[in-house]
């Protein structure tokens, strides 16, 4: 039985449980509340708040998700009192002396944690629910005052829910939090003009997401989808090793159904085809009732756990925090049992209509009726146009409201007003990221433009959205290719052959001219003194000989030096 109490003004869910006490403090703030220039701030606050918890002999942790931040542990009553008290004290007075160290730790964490899913980025863009796809680019520029402001806005008593599973509420438990307001979850944005949509990923797996109204039938659909994918792709086809799905509430009455299937490189087209067929089958109502029953039974079985009420507390707390309906175990049992094949079919239709599919590299899903997710902007900026120094087919446009890089069949346009953030390097390079996820990367050396235009971009975007980057290795900065090949001596091969041909030809001409001159001199002397005109002619011949001989000598010397 779940009891609802209050601890220092924080709504608290309590359920009895044996063994060590488990507890968690959840705040209604996460990555989706951030903006790209602030991205990482919630995670940084979580790390700093935990730093002074100072206890290491029990399991405690923090988690920053899309719409919530969760501090949780399992331990003795005094551990719970100590940990949660220190988290709240840490939030009240973040250990700013740790700021730079924790930023470093987070950068390392992101490197070791590996790739994040690109699906949120393609669905929502570079804002709100799309931000979990992006690296925590805000870290470098976050100052102590930014963190304090974030804590005051979000890590408050009214914006938190506590859950405890144990014997009782531990004595002496205090949650010293600032007063504030409950923050609603962010409104979803969209970077997809049409769904179902697809984009090409950079590996061999197939990844899928859909947004459906949250319901028990939706979670059954997710289970049925997993069964079908597993059967078709692994058991029957042998194209995949892993095929899995999940159904996660978004906190606003909707849930995200995600699915994943890996593939051997030579089977990736079959995994994509099989995946699309499974989605289509469920969408068109070819649903095996036995499969639905199996999923229902498995879910019902999970509810038979003796401490199921305690196990469901974190989810319950999140529902409370986001104002979503929470089912008791009995209600959930009843709803699960009542789910029909027709209801699962209805979810499948909804899922198909909102689908976003990441296809394996070098494959598409346009053949299956999926629309290509935009990789190009609809229109180009109006402004001053500059040529690329090497590529005649591409132009840069910088205008008062927007900038574009324009190619024949595509363009990347970022309107300054809709620019999520702009990365800036000391050497002048700029990368504008639009709210729609479109990226405009500008290497100033590659464009025939005055340097002041960089200033125009900087002013257009405004300093609040700048993401200053460390200086780059000069060797890695793109520059137009050096024009004369003489600057770099050609290696053996074509250049060498040309050189030898030049030496031989020039040498032959020089030798011929030299011989003629010598012959003239001999004839002149033999004929007993020629006229002045003849001597002048012979002088000219000698000069010509030298003109052809000099480059031969220079080339020969250069070759000797090179050996």
């Amino acid at each position: 039985m779940v009891e609802m109490i209050e601890v220092d003004g924080v709504p608290t869910l309590f359920a009895p449980s044996t063994g060590r006490t488990a507890a968690g403090l959840i705040f209604r703030v996460g990555q989706a509340d951030e903006t790209l220039p602030l991205h990482g701030i919630t995670h940084l606050v979580e790390h700093l708040a935990l730093h002074d918890s100072g206890l290491s002999d029990y399991h405690y942790n923090g988690e920053t998700a899309s719409v919530y931040t969760h501090f949780h542990l399992r331990g003795s009553e005094s551990d719970v009192v100590g940990y949660l008290g220190k988290v709240c004290d840490g939030l009240a007075d973040l250990p700013m002396h740790r700021l730079e160290t924790e930023k470093e730790i987070l950068r390392t964490e992101s490197r070791t944690r590996g790739g994040t899913s690109a699906l949120p980025l393609w669905r929502y863009g570079a804002q709100g629910y799309g931000l979990p796809s992006y690296p925590e680019w805000g870290l470098a520029r976050l100052r102590p005052e930014d963190l304090r402001w974030w804590v005051e806005n979000y890590f408050t008593r009214e914006n938190a829910v506590l859950w405890i599973a144990g014997d009782r509420v531990p004595d002496g438990l205090r949650l010293r939090l600032r007063p504030g307001v409950r923050r609603p979850v962010p409104k979803p944005t969209s970077a997809l003009p049409q769904t179902p949509a697809w984009y090409t990923g950079d590996d061999t797996s197939v990844v899928f997401s859909a947004v459906v109204r949250r319901s028990t039938a939706a979670s059954v659909y997710s289970g049925v989808l997993e069964r079908e994918l597993f059967r078709d792709l692994r058991q029957e086809g042998g194209y995949s090793y892993a095929a899995s799905t999940s159904c996660d509430p978004r906190g606003d009455g909707y849930a995200t159904v995600s699915a994943y299937a890996d593939a051997l490189p030579e089977k990736q087209d079959a995994v994509l085809g099989g995946f699309v067929d499974v989605l289509a089958r469920l969408r068109h109502g070819t649903i095996d009732p036995a499969g639905v029953t199996a999923v229902q039974n498995k879910s019902l079985e999970n509810l038979n756990h003796p401490e199921i009420e305690a196990a469901r507390l974190p989810g319950h707390a999140l529902n409370l925090l986001t104002g979503q309906r929470n089912l008791t175990v009995d209600e959930l049992r009843a709803e699960l049992s009542a789910v029909t094949v027709a209801q699962v079919h209805a979810v499948a239709v909804e899922a198909y209509d909102t689908a976003l599919l990441q296809t394996p590299c070098r494959t598409t899903a346009d053949w299956a009726g999926f629309a290509a997710a935009p990789t190009s902007s609809e229109c180009e900026a109006d402004g001053r146009r500059y040529a690329h120094r090497e590529d005649g087919e591409v132009a840069l446009v910088i205008g008062p409201d927007a900038a574009s890089i324009v190619r024949e069949h595509s363009c990347s346009t970022v309107h300054y007003a809709d620019c999520a953030a702009m990365m800036s390097w000391p050497d002048g390079a700029r990368r504008l990221i639009g709210n729609d996820g479109i990226v405009l990367h500008l290497e100033p050396a590659m464009w025939a433009m005055p340097y002041q235009e960089i200033g125009a971009l900087d002013a257009g975007v405004g300093p609040a959205r700048h993401l200053p980057q460390p200086a780059r290795d000069p060797a890695s900065i793109p520059r137009p290719a050096a024009a004369p090949p003489a600057a770099a001596p050609p290696a053996d091969g074509a250049g060498n052959v040309g050189e030898i041909i030049a030496i031989v030809l020039l040498g032959l001409v020089a030798a011929g001219l030299g011989l003629l001159t010598l012959l003239g001199v001999v004839v002149g002397i033999a004929s007993g003194g020629a006229e002045a005109l003849d001597w002048a002619f012979l002088g000219c011949m000698a000069v010509f000989t030298a003109m052809f001989a000099t480059p031969v000598v220079m080339l020969l010397r250069r070759r000797r030096r090179r050996r």
Binding site: G237, Y239, E266, K267, Q268, D269, A270, L272, G273, G274, V276, D277, A280, R281, R283, H284, G285, T286, T363, D366, W367, A368, G369
Partner: protein, 315 residues
């Protein structure tokens, strides 16, 4: 001197072998959907459905009828299947039969547009009826035209074979994909043709795949290899075994595709200089013929007549 009478050109019209083909065409032209649907409903095998859908697909302007019916009966399967068939016909017409390097970018774009249009309908058909053999066979053709890859084409065949292990028209579509010209290998192509032949019941036409794969190899080879290939004893033996197992077997029945099967054997034996063996197939055809494989050699009618006359003179 013996005078051999100039024999008449063969009939390539499928209606000559199967009179119902004429009715199907007439219903299509008259927009008589009910008769057409009734005819399809009584067809017994996926090969029969595929063959008849192909007849419908060749009727000019039939898309109007199919579109109207599909709109009026959104849950009906048959109009979607036939739209898929018609789209394939239009797509390959747009592509033309030329080799890939002679097909323009616009022609490919048009082809792909037709194929995607059809594929979406066929995707729905196989989703609703996972055992619809004709739809799977057309999706194998689509996988090739849309260049979806070897593994995907094979997967489609495997989905189909689960329900229909010996569907001849599907096998001949996959065999094309397995040839090197479509990204496959000779090993895969010969392996598949032999496997299907061995697995099919005696008297069925599946062994025609053996003639197809040898013809593909012969067409792809050059010079001395080409001149000698069809005369090799093991090749001839395999062709003769295949003929015995299928069209020359006592339990052979003139099912849809039989004209093509006899034509295949007649053609290969003719090319191999085995006119005596070819004669048996020419006689069985009795004035009927399919354009394939004769059109590979040049004008189908001329090639047929030339080789038939030679065969009948000898045999």
């Amino acid at each position: 001197m013996t005078i051999i009478p100039a024999a008449a050109a063969p009939s390539f019209d499928r209606a000559a072998a199967f009179p119902e083909v004429q009715s199907v065409r007439t219903w299509c032209r008259q927009g008589d959907w009910d008769s057409l649907a009734r005819h399809f409903a009584q067809l017994q095998t996926p090969d029969a459905v595929y063959f008849t859908a192909d007849v419908v697909a060749e009727v000019p302007g039939v898309m109007n009828l199919l579109g109207q019916v599909a709109e009026a009966r959104p849950s009906a399967i048959l109009p979607k299947l036939l739209i898929g068939a018609r789209a394939i016909d239009m797509a390959w017409e747009a592509r033309t039969g030329a080799q890939a390097q002679h097909v323009s970018r616009e022609q490919f774009a048009e082809m792909h547009e037709f194929l995607r249009f059809g594929e979406e309908r066929l995707l729905e058909v196989t989703a609703r009826e996972p055992d619809n053999g004709a739809a799977w066979a057309m999706r194998i053709t689509n996988a090739r035209g849309l260049e979806l890859g070897q593994a995907e084409a094979r997967r489609r065949y495997d989905r189909l074979a689960k329900h229909h292990p010996h569907m001849f028209f599907a096998q001949t579509q996959l065999l094309q994909q397995l040839c090197p010209k479509w990204g496959g290998s000779w090993e895969a192509a010969f392996g598949f043709a032999r496997q299907c032949t061995a697995a099919a019941p005696e008297g069925s036409i599946n062994a025609k795949l053996i003639t197809e794969v040898h013809l593909e190899y012969w067409l792809a080879s050059r010079g001395a290899e080409r001149a000698a290939y069809l005369h090799r004893p093991e090749v001839l033996q395999e062709l003769a075994d295949a003929a015995r197992r299928s069209v020359l077997h006592p339990s052979f029945r003139p099912v849809y595709g039989w004209v093509g099967a006899h034509s295949g054997f007649a053609c290969l034996f003719s090319l191999a200089g085995e006119h005596g063996r070819a004669a048996a197939h020419f006689r069985a055809l009795g004035g009927l013929a399919s354009t394939s494989p004769w059109s590979y050699l040049g004008d189908a009618a001329q090639e047929f007549v030339k080789h038939r006359d030679l065969a009948l003179k000898v045999g």
